[in-house]
Symmetry: C2
Subunit: 230 residues, 2 copies
Amino acid sequence: MSHKGKLYGVGIGPGDAELLTLKAIKALKKADVICLPKSKDQASTALEIVEEFLPKDIEQVQMVFSMSKDIEQRKTSRKNNALEVMEMLDQGKNVVFLTLGDPMLYSTYSYLLEYLTKEYSVENIPGIYSFSAISNTLSIPLCKGKEKVSVIGAFNKDSEAILALSDTTVCMKISSYGKQLAEFLKNNSGYSFTMISEAGKEEESQYFDAKILEGDLPYFSTAIVQKIKQ
Amino acid sequence: MSHKGKLYGVGIGPGDAELLTLKAIKALKKADVICLPKSKDQASTALEIVEEFLPKDIEQVQMVFSMSKDIEQRKTSRKNNALEVMEMLDQGKNVVFLTLGDPMLYSTYSYLLEYLTKEYSVENIPGIYSFSAISNTLSIPLCKGKEKVSVIGAFNKDSEAILALSDTTVCMKISSYGKQLAEFLKNNSGYSFTMISEAGKEEESQYFDAKILEGDLPYFSTAIVQKIKQ
């Protein structure tokens, strides 16, 4: 037990190294292995953010997580990655698994955790959510007083009700449902719309007209939809 | 213009100095004045967290924000505090306004911002939300895949619908509506309940039985209510 390494699930925020927490940096410095999911451009983005804090001789592991429509295949892939992590922990290595944003909000890491058995020591370190950074950049309070805010990652039968009930709805992973949201906003007046793509990066763009939703959106786009107060 | 100071709205996270971001620390070090709302124990808690990063000769201002039921009185109080901040900025001072958690989520700071006129330079710096820290501490993913998560700060006519539609509902400021939430959970099975009080502090307590809601709750309590998946 005492010779096993420790797993750190580290949230690194939206893409600006200055939004790393002290706790995250401390974990990065203790890492023997840095692990990250290989998907879209996320892997290289995540590595760039933390590079300056990593030990020089660190081992890098990019893990492929199946995106198959077959749930069993996705589960097998998660389990195999968890087995690989546990093997490294058994070798006494400290493993840091990076997550853009936060490890407990739409992260691949949370799937991996399901397959990690109890004898391993795990520490999760929160990171700034992309929408939190965006609301601060744009000075848009997400909620005040008795208001409520919701976060959606897809558009399905309940999404319209959520948009109707919430003072603010944060739309993440919006590139997969831009057109549906555009349709909703066309049919329902009384909402304001703000979107940021590639937040914190050089290519960052801000949009205030929901028409942008009708075209193709960059993968890292997040919208804030708010009821306009009378 | 160039002689005016800058206002920094700094989110300091839930109460653990290690969860400060590098950006927040940078702003703290540039502060001439540190401002914070005087309410409950928040002021002293916030100061303790950041103390080690503040310049030695820093000026401290604790601002009283009216909690009156009369909205006009609350507005006057916010406006007067904004005037005081603008006066300090006019004197060329950099003012840091501290917020436990994040400046754009249920913060007094966001009310103050409404009265700050356009000629002042403002930078908001996001902080880790208390519920983000809690979900990481307890290894409870708030959402995966296509799920949705909502955050409420009161219990009103829409709250039951939000609880029914969301995979996860984060209940903040729960000390004001514990009994109503207890009643909901008694009448609706299929939800898990987790609560943390005084997160990150020595007195931190974790609760997994909703019965705790029937008594008096510490002011800093946050619950995570999740639909139990079949």
